[in-house]
Subunit: 154 residues, 5 copies
């Protein structure tokens, strides 16, 4: 089988972050097969990521969208915990990209945040696979995804 990575997003999301992550990874990792999977919501991401790893993928990027209610924050906790545990149990690279609806009042701003974050983290995944040691140069630089970089405190 070709080397493979997976992009997993949700129907719940109001922005097609998966498409952006997919295109970015196709460009950045031309010798990888990029699997694209969509699940209903954020709590379905960890199980789907597990199936992608079982299928043979070296890395997974998940794209979650979290509502504004208190219960939604718990959903975020549960989904991210599952993704972290998947990484702990398998040692595979699992990048958890999450957008929270309360990050912006304006839907257009939220859309920009979501698309930027998906693109930036897809690039991060490509780096972690191709040139992991290069990331050390960016250690402590206050890099952000979906916002301008905060920069280092000098």
């Amino acid at each position: 089988m070709d080397k493979c990575i997976a992009v997993i997003d949700t129907m719940f999301s109001r922005v097609d972050m998966g498409a952006v992550a997919y295109e970015t990874l196709r460009e950045e990792l031309p010798d990888y097969k990029v699997e694209r999977v969509t699940v209903p919501g954020a709590k379905d991401l960890p199980g789907a990521a597990r199936r992608a790893i079982d299928y043979g993928c070296e890395g997974v990027i998940t794209l979650g969208w979290i509502g504004k209610r208190e219960a939604d924050k718990i959903t975020y906790l549960v989904s991210s915990m599952g993704l972290v545990m998947l990484g702990v149990l398998t040692g595979k690279i699992v990048i958890d990209v999450t957008v929270h609806e309360d990050e912006a009042d304006n839907p257009k701003d939220l859309r920009e945040i979501a698309l930027d974050r998906a693109r930036d983290h897809a690039r991060n995944l490509a780096y972690m696979i191709k040139r992991p040691h290069d990331l050390v140069k960016r250690a402590g630089k206050g890099v952000r995804q979906g916002y301008p970089d905060a920069g280092p405190i000098i």
Copy 2:
């Protein structure tokens, strides 16, 4: 053994979501045996889902009902965490449907939310089993279960 999926709901719930999920899955997956199981409350769902997977089911839909107290939110967290970990550990499809009593002031509204959500997620489970790649078409569309779709941000 026939191919099988499981519907697991609770006595605690004030709406018979399990019946709706059961009927929907019988229609959508006519060649599957649909196991129906009822447990006392939401914290009993993950263990019962594990037993359904041990029995041979490919997928499980659980239907939880969560009260209004602070302790109930913790119950939601714990139940959903167990279901997510079950998916991470087994790779099986586990759809966690949860209704929160504070989603509506009016019991009738709550009933509608619960029945719609159970039906919509049962269809999602059927899609994930029969035509998983079709869901990509709905990525980022702001699909909701139990509420009108939020729609994509354009």
Copy 3:
């Protein structure tokens, strides 16, 4: 060995819920050995439940008592999470009965809640072992333990 189930309660509790669960299970499951174990507090329940399962028990009922402070809510979360994970990892029936001190202002009321809940959940455990399919009849009926049933929303 005889078939066995376990009742595990705490010294921290202010009501002897374990005695009620024990008597109820002796009546409901006369052909089972009922192991009774007491541990200091709620965080000791999951480990003791694991030992009861290792000993050969098919099912476990734990009876926890949670104080009013913020830290106590975290204790509830941690204890229940351990019990849910035990069910996920072993597939055994683990019924987590918890009483929160802030459920009633009056100690006598709290006592009634605790005793009713222990008895009702011990019966639930017996049902889950003897006649699991009977519980489907009670799905969505708003059944409560320690309070009057909320009933179904019609």
Copy 4:
């Protein structure tokens, strides 16, 4: 190897709870080797407890100290969750003793709470190893560690 139990405490703590637990266990379990280990803070306790179990210890008592900030409550959650999961995964006795800095305004009071709780839980550990069935007599008695007993509700 001799039978062994472990006492694990922290440098972060402002009271030497480990010394009290160690002395108590030496008295209560004279035929056991008592390993004493100190780690930086509460999040280091579960890993150290795992190493003590790998070393051959039958039981572990950990002594954590938690600050007043919101982030410290999360630290408590994470540390206790790790200790509970260790018990669930290994079946060994793991007693998690925790003191919260917001339990008393006065440092001297906090010191008394810490020392009493360490001593009382060390005795609990000894009981759980030597005479586990004796603890049933204290079920539901409202026993406290670090405070006067709340007593049973009669």
Copy 5:
């Protein structure tokens, strides 16, 4: 292979804590290879720590940086939970160093806290590897990293 330990930090951090931890460990453990790894953010630390352990490292120090929003606190919980579970599952030493942006109003103060904490915990890791029993002398001494020691309550 040489004996090895790993330093894992993030691009998200606004201070290069990894460099300080790396230099400290090079001095304190001259016969160890010190692997340095950088990942995007705190939720990527547990998976990277797992890979460092698979690679053969005896111990890992992770350096996380947590923002001020409510969702960031959940990120802290999830990241630390993964690191604790890694220690529970592998028995390896995993030191989780975290700086919270709300620990100081002034960026310069935050920088001092971060650098001191990274250095102090790197020394703790070296102690835990070279002279674990020496740490017992500091039990209950109110030792802090990034702040002045609180000292023991006498």
